[in-house]
Amino acid sequence: MRTVLTVLGLAALILTYVGVQSLVSTLEINVTGSVSSLGGEIDVWSKGAVFPLLSRLPESYASQVKSISGVSLATPVALVQLTVDNNYALVAGVVPAQFPHLLNYTMTSGTMISSNQSGILAIGKALAATIGKGAGDSAQLNGQDYRISGVYETNTWMDYSLVIPHTVAQQLIGWVNQTSMIVVVTQDPRNVNAIIGQIRTLLPTVDAFRTSEAPSRISPIFASLEAIATDITIIVSVSAVLGIMNSNLNNLRERMRTFAIFKATGASYGQIIKLVFYESFLIGVLGTLLGLAISYVILSFVSIPLIETINVKIILVPSTFIYATILGISISIAAAIYPALKIAKVRPQEVFRFG
């Protein structure tokens, strides 16, 4: 019974670990996605902005960045959160002519916006499904009627947003010659760092960084989320080690006579330790496998709300399962060290005499 409880406890630990890590991964991937799915290799934000929605810089910076040698594309993107048929969504204002060079997408129906004409938008597949609209339909963007020119699919976070011309976005926000960010594509990806340096020198009031670094820059809170997840893992792991160690100690105490017999019949100190470790390893494997299976089943059905009505499914990252396996088995072994050393010192004559 004690062994079964130990296995279940370990499975619960694995579920906690996989749950927390998957939650962080899901947020990370989606937040990364909300920026990096706009494409490009370098993001340019106003200095000190913690989220692209809060960034504001002159649109003319795009042409200055474009003039740097090695830059193939520098295009402004205005980001704004608006209501679309009463659902909040992230709206990207892009330069229609440059958009195809920025992002890979396929149109599932209709066409992508191709001019600065107002009153037209293209909508991501997931958002279209959420509001129940398709190409040719009308949607209310911030209370005004827009015609949906087409539905695009990127298999990124962009599928939860919609695209309008940059000039239209500027009007909606009330900005003149301003934009949220500039997305940069280089001619040679090996030069990204050098170009980032040149942008920072050329435009001291902006910050430039790799798109992949966006999550930790988006918000200090997001960066600390990973630290919190690590702290939770450490606390849960230490608790698990102590709990399983206590269980092991009691379990071994109950079987003190058995180990005394082993020793009396010739088992060495090392052999007793090996036996305990082997048993703990098996329990660790069992608990871990059970925990992984439960985590997979439960988390496959869990969604988290990201923006109002937009729910994203928990993303199960393979590396989380690999780390969980290592963690589960390591904890099992670690929790066996003290009990193993203690039981290996058992004195058979005392056990046989006094029980």
Binding site: R257, T258, A260, I261, F262, K263, A264, T265, G266, A267, S268, Y269, Q271, R347, P348, Q349, F352, R353
Partner: protein
């Protein structure tokens, strides 16, 4: 001749310190056992028979004196060498058998061979052979609790002989058996042990065993009274 002496003690003593008092379990015990012989240690309860066997078997350490096994002093051996001695050279049949309840009869007999690192095939063959010799054939897959006291004693004997020890120590082997079963068991055990070429030291109350022994020691209050 000294090389015929397999076991010898010199001024052996054991004192248990249970504060505030000290209990002298053994005091100045000198004995020797010749190879292939049966030594019976007898005496009243609490006379130190079990303590003496535990010391001889390397399960406990004396507080004074020395033990020599095959001419080598075991008193100061480290734990690793003592384990090896218990595994290879000495077989122990405990008063309460001390079979592992979770294991089958066959696995109990294979236990010491497992610690010796023998192959599965070798362990199984040897265990089955010994169980056949002690008359437990057909009950290999039973648990100790499913056997009678006499049968458990035989399994314990088979386990003690598994690694072909040169010395077998038996603590009250007939203590839990009636007279008829005692005689039958001792005859069988004696045949098997001698058949294996082992020397045997038996601690017992049973005078029939004492009569049959090649040599005997009467122990009283931890001291040898007569031999």
């Amino acid at each position: 001749m000294d090389d015929e002496i397999i076991l010898r003690t010199q001024g052996l003593g054991k004192t248990y310190e249970t504060k505030p008092e000290k209990t002298v379990a053994l005091d100045d015990v000198n004995l020797q056992v010749n190879r292939g012989k049966l030594l019976a240690i007898y005496g009243p309860s609490g006379s130190g028979k079990t303590t003496l066997l535990f010391l001889l078997g390397g399960l406990d350490r004396p507080t004074s004196g020395r033990i020599y096994f095959e001419g080598v002093e075991v008193t100061n051996m480290d734990e690793r060498r003592l384990s090896k001695l218990r595994r290879n050279a000495i077989g122990f049949v405990f008063q309460n058998y001390n079979l592992v309840e979770e294991l089958t009869v066959l696995e109990n007999v294979m236990l010491t061979m497992m610690f010796e690192g023998k192959s599965e095939r070798e362990m199984r063959d040897r265990a089955e052979q010994l169980l056949h010799k002690v008359g437990i054939s057909g009950k290999e897959q039973r648990r100790p609790a499913q056997l009678s006291a006499g049968e458990q004693q035989r399994v314990a004997t088979a386990r003690a002989l598994a690694n072909r020890p040169r010395l077998v120590l038996m603590d009250e082997p007939t203590g839990n058996l009636d007279q008829e079963n005692s005689q039958e068991l001792m005859q069988l055990v004696s045949e098997v042990i001698h058949g294996e070429g082992a020397t045997c030291v038996v601690a017992t109350h049973n005078l029939d065993i004492v009569q049959e022994a090649d040599s005997k020691l009467f122990l009283k209050s931890g001291r040898i009274v007569s031999s």
